[in-house]
Amino acid sequence: MAIDMEKKSLSGTLSADPRFRTQFILLSRLACAAAGSLGATVLLGWILHIPLLESFIPGVVAMKANTAIAFILSAVSVWILNTNPEKRWPRSVAEVSAIITLLLSALTLLEYLFTADFGVDQLLFQESADAFGTFNPGRMAPATSVNFLLLGIALLSESRGKRKAAEILFSIVVTIALVTVLGYLFDVAELHNLGPYTPMAWHTSLAFIFLAVSFFSFRMEFNAQFLVGAGFWGAFVALTYIGIISYWSAERQSEDAQRVAHTHRVIEKIEEVLSDVKDIETGTRGFALTGDQGFLDPYFAKLNTINNSIQDLHYLTIDNRRQQARIDSLQPIVAARLVLSSELIKLRKEKGARAVLGWPGIIKGRRLMIKIREISAEMAEAEHQLLTQRDLETRQSVRASIITIFVGTIISLSLFLAVFYFLNREITERRQIEEQIRTLNAELEQRIADRTEELVNANEVLRTEMSERERAQAVVRESEGRYHSLFENMLEGYAHCKMIYEDKLPKDFIYLDVNIAFEKLTGLKNVVGKKVSEVIPGVQESNPELFAIYGRVTSTGKPEKFETYVEGLGIWFSISVYSTNPGHFVAVFDNITERKQAEEEILELNVRLETRVVERTSQLEAVNKELEAFSYSVSHDLRAPLRHIDGFADLLTKHATGTLDEKGRHFLHTISDSAKQMGVLIDELLVFSRMGRIEMKTREVNSDALVRDVIAGLIHDIQKRKVSWTIGVLPTVQADPAMLRLVYQNLLENAIKYTRPRENTEIEIGTMRHPNENDFFVKDNGVGFDMQYLDKLFGVFQRLHRVDEFEGTGIGLANVRRIIQRHGGKTWAEGKIGEGATFYFSLPNHQRG
């Protein structure tokens, strides 16, 4: 993550600044449009014959029609290539435009090379032969055609993806155009006017610059490479320009020096001519005065040279018409003077010294001489003026050169400085990046070292694990050995089988492996590889459940255990099945025939037992019914005679009141009492019998409330006695409420009854809880009982007291025992004569059980 971020920031300094991207694209479009419309405007000028549109500034060379067309085509091509089209056809348009431009320029160049005319120049428009600065009418300048040739190649290269070549070619084009523009700016004709050819028009060079600006600004990138390239190119242009200017300046200076020398020579020659004339005059005059022949020597000498001098002068000033004119006017005057000299010499020779005096030719000669002097002075003056002017011009051009060189040097120096700055910054950045990379590398190496260490550690762990695994494998092998011995020695049969399906239903299986016990238990031999249907014929029909269960276990993978009887073998099996892998199962089994036989015997016995139970039950039911009938008859028939005895005894008592004595009345009373007594006994016996027979309606009974209710019902029995009750917290129990009420009623009635002799009666009712049952007790401080008669206590009609001591029939506790027994509980008692008794009963805790 950290490395990625670093990389991003590094590349960020080198890539284009997106903020200026749109501005540069706009600039590119504008420049391209400017170049195209420049060409279009000029072409319009040619079509409409408006010279101003052709040259823009009157009196300068016009842009040729071909040039204008080439600019329109080039602008179209640049525009299309700038949009970087995806489709094929726009690219084709760009390339066709470039090719036409290229052909046009190539043909023009060939015309220049072979000084021929292929008719391309005036193909569309005619240009007059005397058009300004034009040597070949309608033909574009050589520099222009070179530029278009380069431009055409550049555009084709760009279209074919050769960006580098395109950039270099565009750089050359713009260099040529820039030099031309600078030539126009600094008025250095040599820069745009190469010999006797048409120069590149100023707006042509501008249009080239526009195209280059469009091309480069679209591809502008603020990376170091581009900036350094541009800087070096700028410096190169500046230096080239400086070089050209320097050369031109030096050339011009040497030319000027020659001109000065030439002027001096001209002046010299003028003075020579003048001196010659003077020498001739002086010689002539000396001879005329003296007649001395010696004076005539210079005359003859100069007479030969003077014409040569004048001829020289003429030749020297051949490029100056005025001087030539002067020389032309000087020549006859000099000739006339020479004629006068020769006439004088002749006169002296012929007429002597006297004749000379007063000769009119002398005055005439003097006048001619003055004229010669004047013309010579004029000529010298003109030459001096020319020299002064030339000096001035030279000085000016030298100053311009110096300024140009100075400015150019500053520009190129600035560019170099800028390039140096950029390179330096770039190098610094690169060094920083390298430093960062080194740091990152170091970190990476550290990380690699760490990771290597981790791997080494992991390897160590792995090796430990492997050795552990080897140990574990040894253990596994050992365990396998043990399991194998188990497999061979176990008493259960083992069979590994493969299920066979028919119509996706388990129909058969093949034994793959069996242990020794298999043979012993089944009696089957050599079963491995065989189908069960072959080994036990008919098993599919007799034991379909075998296949159903095995199939289920094989498909679900859930182990099962079952028992089955295989008829074909006559053996009962207990089988555990599990699935090892899909389609396979393992059956572990045991022969349980003996056990099954025993079980069957038990089952048979059970059935017999049940039959007997049913028999016995029906017998018991019959007995019960008999008993019921018996008790019914007791209830109905036994009581009737008793009633009759009592009734008739009563009637007799009334009837014989007068005749019966006291004894007779006593007997009748006793008969009546006995009958009543027997009625009570019968009634209680019936209740006791019913307790054993009636249906129990068990529900939750709140013992506490029940006890308090029973006590409330006994209140009138103890109205005149002091009884202190202690009632513990009694739980809720599961019981028949009416029966349980009877239990408490009997026990409490007994407690009250047998405490009658006590002044202070104490009765306690409490409970003792046990996990599975609750014990309840009723304790009194009554007369108690002898523990040796304990077994009689709960018997029917069993009493430990006489009726005259404590009334009662002896059925109460028998009822208690019967009720508690029916609830599944027990009854018992503790007591001691004279020290009270405690009666217990227990009820099973059904809620917990």
Partner: protein, 150 residues
């Protein structure tokens, strides 16, 4: 309504009949007590057939019915009375020795008007019979169809 009402006593045991009549006599319930000696006779009386063919029309003020009787027992008599549209309004009191629950339940199921267990104590029996006679023969207002002039 000042007419005396007849009581039908269906009882097979002559001793019981005697004691019952004695008890009623003791309380001077002068009503005519008709005694049927078993269930069949009791039904004959109610339906005016057999020996009672010629008896006067009208139903008894109350039927005192013993349960355990030869031939037709008390339960059957009760069933027939209570299933007869004309007779079912006649009050029937079970007067029996049995205090068996099943007899009680069966009697009330059949629509008995009262169920009295004959006590062994004769004085108690006299009191019970007296109260029965007073209530049913004197206090209770019988349905309109029960008694007509004999």
């Amino acid at each position: 309504m000042n007419e005396l009402k007849r009581i039908l006593l269906v009882e097979d045991n002559p001793k019981d009949v005697e004691l019952t009549l004695a008890a009623l006599a003791e309380h001077k319930l002068a009503n005519e007590v008709v005694v049927a000696r078993d269930g069949a006779e009791g039904l004959d009386y109610l339906y005016r057939r057999g020996q009672f063919k010629l008896r006067a029309e009208g139903h008894p003020a109350v039927v005192l019915l013993d349960i355990k009787m030869p031939k037709v027992d008390g339960m059957e008599v009760l069933r027939q009375i209570k299933s007869d549209l004309e007779l079912k309004a006649v009050p029937v009191v079970m007067l029996t020795s049995s205090r068996e629950e099943k007899d009680l339940i069966a009697s009330y199921d059949l629509g008995v008007n009262a169920y009295v267990v004959k006590p062994v104590n004769f004085r108690d029996f006299v009191d019970a019979v007296k109260e029965l006679g007073v209530f049913w023969a004197i206090i209770n207002e019988p349905p309109p169809t029960s008694i007509k002039k004999m």
